[in-house]
């Protein structure tokens, strides 16, 4: 409980390596997460060598964690292994479709989050790289992922060399709904986002970017419609290429 409550993203790591047997134990324990029909529709690629990290780095927009962390884990939705097993057992697999991707992605993310909790409980720090799905075919290429394997999350892991402030979260009332979804009125939105908007750090972002509101930082700079649309097309192309669409 305390581990999760005090959780924060760690982007700077000590040079200390992570013991292989500990890493394996954490991954093995993480696989206790719920999984669709106990199929375990995931694989994780463990990258420690600099040459492979150097190839991954630009695909993650050269975020320094990729080169600096002792371990980079790419969690992949994987229906390939299961389908191979089916084929070897006179069974005809039918998992080259979108629903199967969503099932495998779900399995993978539950496993990923379990791993993060366990790593943090063991004193490590993690950073979730959302960039994994920005250029999935690049990662497919570097990690040599076969069809029906798709990268969905990258986690950098190491022993923390920083202790950043914990970021804000929305008040709970902003994310829960009783029985059915109660739509937000203008006053609800004002109240839910008030604290986030009040933070000096966020006010400063708005100022130095010459914007009028914090929301414009997101829509105009960080997560732009044009980028989202071109990356949506890339994601769909990648799903086709990997055999899920």
């Amino acid at each position: 409980m305390t581990t999760i409550k005090d959780r924060r993203t760690i982007r700077k790591y000590k040079h200390e390596q992570i013991d292989d047997s500990l890493l394996n134990e954490l991954l093995s324990t993480a696989s206790r997460a719920a999984t669709m029909g106990n199929m375990q529709l995931y694989s994780v690629v463990i990258t420690k060598d600099d040459a492979t990290k150097q190839k991954l780095s630009p695909l993650h927009f050269n975020q320094p964690m990729v080169m600096d962390a002792p371990v980079v884990l790419t969690f992949c939705a994987d229906f390939h292994r299961f389908s191979l097993w089916c084929e070897q057992r006179d069974a005809v697999p039918g998992y080259d479709n979108f629903l199967s991707f969503i099932n495998a992605m779900s399995d993978t993310l539950l496993f990923t989050q379990n791993f993060c909790t366990l790593a943090e409980e063991a004193g490590m720090g993690t950073c979730y790289l959302g960039t994994t799905i920005y250029n999935p075919l690049g990662i497919v290429d570097v990690l040599k992922l076969p069809k029906l394997v798709f990268p969905v999350a990258t986690i950098t892991v190491g022993y923390p060399d920083e202790s950043p402030e914990q970021p804000d979260r929305l008040p709970l009332e902003g994310i829960i709904h009783e029985n059915t979804y109660r739509d937000y009125e203008a006053c609800d939105i004002d109240r839910i986002y008030a604290y986030k908007e009040s933070l000096d750090e966020n006010k400063n972002f708005v100022k130095i970017n010459s914007k009028e509101t914090l929301a414009q930082i997101f829509t105009d700079i960080r997560y732009k419609k044009s980028d989202n649309e071109s990356m949506s097309a890339g994601m769909i192309e990648a799903l086709k290429s990997q055999g899920f669409l």
Copy 2:
């Protein structure tokens, strides 16, 4: 660590209710999970009343946990709230696309898994209902989900009234890859699936269903190609209807 290591799905619950303040604390703490740009792209609909559960139940193939659990949680990918905030702040949201759905789904599942770990740590049992994405539009309708809100996971929660055996998992070597993906040879597949195939329970499944192999139980009965394909079409239709495609 022990909570995750000993984890098993719980499908039978005591009549005991879950204290609201405890449930809220667990959900609030769960929101410490990593989230894309700290946008928290999720909502959770908490269903406790029988009338709503009765509407949800057939959408989950009448699995008894929906009616029997004191609490049913539907975790939804949600770009609606964030987009409303943008609109109220003179910012033009650009999140009606596939990448944004994948981002929101990722956020949601990390939050979901964190919640499950916390609930189990607090002595509760959970069951992950994979059926949520089998008929998403039905759930959208019952829970009155607006556009840019999409159900991705349902968790039933309660105090355990059973202590089932822990299910098998693949050996770790079956799911990890060093540096790049090492494809499986026939002997790898045999070794990785040997334990699962050796279990009496699984051998019995094969026998009573008059199948030749355990894999055929999956391909011919549990997760059939024709079902996957029709549900893929339904999922894509639902993504369009909810504004993500």
